[in-house]
C-alpha cells in the first residue's frame, strides 16, 4: 500500500454503501483517512459500517430517488465536514425480464432510483462544487450505457441516461471554465456484487450472468478517479471491448452480448417473479462481493 492516510482531510459522499461497490469504496477510503459520508436505505448496515470505518465516518439514511433525502444527505455532510471534495453517485438497481412482463411501476422505479437519483446527487454536488470552485463528481454507470442489456430495456435506458447526463455535465464544466470541477463516469462490466439479489426479476430464472468481474477492481478504478479524474472509465475486458467495438460495429456486438446473456439466463435455475429491492431493501446481500462467481463456477 502507498501512503496509508493519503486521503486524510478529504470529504467523500458515497451512495449505495450498504453493500457492493459502494461499501468497498467506503471501506478503502476510510482506511486511507478520508471523511466518508455513507448513504443507503438500510440504516442498520450503514451504521455498522460507519462504526467499522472509525470516527471520520457518518451514516445518513437515504433513498436516492427522493429529493428530500438527497438534500438531507448533502446538508448533513456539509454540517459535519463543511465541504465536499468528492461525490460518488453509486446507488443503482437492475430490473430484469421481458419488458411487457415487467410491471410498469417497477420500470418506473428503476428509472427513479438509477437516473433521477443521479440527477439529484449531481445537482446538489455541482451546486456546492461551483461555490467551492473545485470538486469531483463520479457517476457509476454500466457497460449497458453503450450496448443494450437484453431483457433489461429500462435498466439500459437509465444507464444510457446517466452517461448522457455525465458527458453533458463534463462539457458544461469545461465551457464554464470550472477547470477544477471534474465529472467522471464509470462503466463496469457485470460485477460480482449482491446486485443480482437486489434486482427486480421477471425473467423466470435466477440472474446468473458472466463472466463476472471482481468488485475490488471497480473499487480501485473509482478511487483512482479521485487522483486522476477522467471523463469515462471502462472497466473489465468485456466492457472495454464493447466501448471499442460497440461504436464501430454496434449490431454485431449487441447481438453477441445479447444472445450470450440470454442463453445464460435461460440455463439458470427457475426463480419466482420479484420486485427485489426496488421498493423495500431486504436483508439479503450486505457484503462487497456477491455469489455470482461461485454460481458461475458451480455451473461449470
Amino acid at each position: 500500500m502507498a501512503n496509508e492516510k493519503k486521503y486524510a482531510g478529504l470529504t467523500i459522499v458515497i451512495t449505495g454503501t450498504s453493500s457492493g461497490i459502494g461499501k468497498g469504496v467506503a471501506q478503502q477510503l476510510a482506511a486511507q483517512g478520508a471523511n466518508v459520508v455513507l448513504a443507503a436505505r438500510r440504516t442498520k448496515e450503514i451504521e455498522a459500517l460507519a462504526e467499522a470505518c472509525g470516527p471520520n465516518a457518518i451514516a445518513v439514511t437515504t433513498d436516492v430517488s427522493r429529493e428530500e433525502d438527497v438534500a438531507k444527505l448533502f446538508e448533513t455532510a456539509m454540517g459535519v465536514f463543511s465541504s465536499i471534495d468528492v461525490w460518488i453517485n453509486n446507488a443503482g438497481i437492475g430490473t430484469y425480464g421481458s419488458f411487457t412482463d415487467t410491471p410498469l411501476r417497477d420500470l418506473n422505479r428503476t428509472m427513479e432510483i438509477n437516473f433521477l437519483g443521479t440527477i439529484y446527487g449531481s445537482h446538489y454536488a455541482l451546486n456546492q462544487f461551483k461555490k467551492q470552485r473545485y470538486g469531483t463528481l463520479i457517476n457509476v454507470s454500466s457497460f449497458a450505457s453503450k450496448t443494450p442489456m437484453p431483457f433489461g430495456a429500462a435498466y439500459t435506458g437509465s444507464k444510457y441516461g446517466i452517461s448522457g447526463l455525465s458527458n453533458g455535465l463534463y462539457q458544461e464544466m469545461r465551457m464554464d471554465g470550472f477547470d477544477d470541477i471534474h465529472v467522471c463516469s464509470v462503466d463496469p462490466w457485470v460485477t460480482d456484487t449482491p446486485w443480482t439479489q437486489h434486482a427486480g426479476n421477471y425473467s423466470g430464472h435466477e440472474i446468473i450472468v458472466g463472466p463476472a468481474d471482481d468488485p475490488q477492481k471497480v473499487v480501485g478504478e473509482i478511487i483512482g478517479l479521485i487522483d486522476n479524474p477522467k471523463k469515462v472509465v471502462e472497466i473489465g475486458a468485456k466492457s472495454k471491448g464493447i466501448a471499442a467495438t460497440g461504436t464501430l460495429i454496434p449490431k454485431t456486438t449487441k447481438g453477441l452480448t445479447g444472445r450470450s446473456l440470454l442463453k445464460m439466463i435461460q440455463e439458470a435455475p427457475p426463480a419466482p417473479p420479484t420486485t427485489g429491492s426496488l421498493y423495500e431493501s431486504g436483508p439479503e446481500g450486505t457484503e462487497v462481493s456477491g455469489n455470482l462467481r461461485e454460481q458461475l463456477k458451480a455451473k461449470g
Partner: protein, 319 residues
C-alpha cells in the same frame, strides 16, 4: 408532394400531435387514408385537427407523463378502431440552461415527459402488439442521443435514455423471435418546429440554433418507417455527421458541437427564464413549423459574424 399511399384500415397513434412533427405526421397519414389517433395535452388543437382530418381521426387529450392517460389513449384507440398497427411516441420537450440554474422540479418533469412517457407508450404498445402478433413502435429520439449537449444535459440525457430503452426493446423483440413486431427510433437534427417556444429555457437567451432542417424531412422519414422499419434512422446531414464522427473522433465532435451550440445560444437575443410547456402547455406554437428559420435569417441580417453557421448544413461540421 410525394405520392399518396392508400393506408385505409391502418390505425396509427401519434403523441404530441398538437404541433410540430406529430401534427405533420397525423396530417399526412390521414391524407393517405389511415385512421389517426391524436394525442396531446392541448384538447382544443387536437379536436380542431381531428375535424380537419375528417371521420377517420380521433382526438384523445393525453399527458404522456401520466400512465392513466396512456392507458386511456390505448383503450380509446382500440374501442374506436379495433386495434393499433403503429404507435409513434413523438411527444417531447427540451430544457436549456446551466444544470445548476434549472430548477430540479423542471428537470424531474422533463424526465417524466420525455423518458417515462416513452416507457408508458412503449409498454402499452408492445403489449398490444404481442396480443395481435404484429405492430410497429416508433420512438422519437434526437441527434443529441449520442452527442452530449452542454447546457442541456438533462434534456440530452433523456434522449440518451430513449436510445438505450429503444435499442433494448429492439434487441428484445429480435431475441424473442417477434419478426412482425418492429421497434424503430428516429434521430432528427435541430428542426424548425415550435419546440423552442415549448422548451424550458434558463439560458438567458432565446433558443436560436441552426442550421435547422425542414420538419417535412423528418415527417417523411417517420412515415417511411411504417413501410420499411429500421432500428435507427438519422435525419439531416448534420445528424448523420454528428453520429458518425462521434464514433470515430468522439472528443473532437463533442467539443465542436458543444462550443458551436453555446456560441449560438449566447449570440441570440436575451430572453426571460421560463419553464415553457414543461408544467402546463403554452398557447403558442400550434403549427408543424416554428419560426426558427425566420429568426436565423434576421440574425444574419443584423450582420452576425457566424453567418455561415446559420445558413447551410454542409459548411461547418466535419470539415
Amino acid at each position: 408532394m410525394a405520392l399518396t399511399k392508400d393506408r385505409q384500415g391502418l390505425t396509427v397513434v401519434v403523441t404530441g400531435a398538437s404541433s410540430g412533427f406529430g401534427r405533420g405526421i397525423a396530417q399526412k397519414l390521414a391524407a393517405d387514408g389511415a385512421n389517426v389517433v391524436l394525442a396531446a395535452r392541448r384538447t382544443k388543437l387536437i379536436d380542431e385537427l381531428a375535424i380537419e382530418l375528417g371521420g377517420r381521426a380521433l382526438a384523445v387529450t393525453t399527458d404522456v407523463s401520466s400512465e392513466e392517460d396512456i392507458a386511456r389513449l390505448m383503450a380509446a384507440a382500440e374501442s374506436r378502431f379495433g386495434k393499433v398497427d403503429v404507435w409513434i411516441n413523438n411527444a417531447g420537450l427540451g430544457i436549456m440552461g446551466s444544470f445548476t440554474d434549472i430548477p430540479l422540479n423542471d428537470m424531474l418533469r422533463l424526465v417524466d415527459i420525455n423518458l417515462k412517457g416513452m416507457i408508458y407508450g412503449s409498454h402499452h404498445a408492445l403489449r398490444h402488439f404481442k396480443e395481435n402478433g404484429s405492430g410497429t413502435l416508433i420512438n422519437m429520439s434526437s441527434f443529441i442521443s449520442s452527442v452530449p449537449l452542454p447546457f442541456g444535459a438533462v434534456y440530452c440525457a433523456t434522449k440518451y435514455g430513449i436510445a438505450g430503452l429503444t435499442a433494448g426493446l429492439h434487441l428484445e423483440m429480435e431475441l424473442e423471435g417477434r419478426k412482425d413486431i418492429h421497434v424503430c427510433m428516429v434521430h432528427p437534427w435541430v428542426t424548425d418546429t415550435p419546440w423552442p417556444e415549448h422548451s424550458g429555457n434558463y439560458s438567458g437567451h432565446e433558443i436560436t440554433l441552426g442550421p435547422v432542417d425542414d420538419p417535412e424531412t423528418v415527417i417523411d422519414a417517420v412515415i417511411g418507417l411504417i413501410d420499411q422499419p429500421q432500428e435507427s434512422v438519422e435525419i439531416g446531414s448534420k445528424s448523420k455527421a454528428a453520429i458518425l464522427s462521434k464514433h470515430l473522433i468522439p472528443v473532437g465532435t463533442e467539443k465542436l458541437n458543444g462550443i458551436l451550440l453555446q456560441e449560438m445560444l449566447k449570440s441570440a437575443p436575451s430572453a426571460e427564464k421560463t419553464s415553457g410547456s414543461i408544467h402546463s402547455p403554452r398557447f403558442e406554437g400550434t403549427q408543424v413549423s416554428g419560426n426558427m428559420r425566420n429568426r436565423l435569417k434576421q440574425q444574419i441580417g443584423k450582420g452576425n459574424s457566424s453567418k455561415d453557421r446559420f445558413t447551410d448544413g454542409r459548411n461547418n461540421h466535419g470539415k
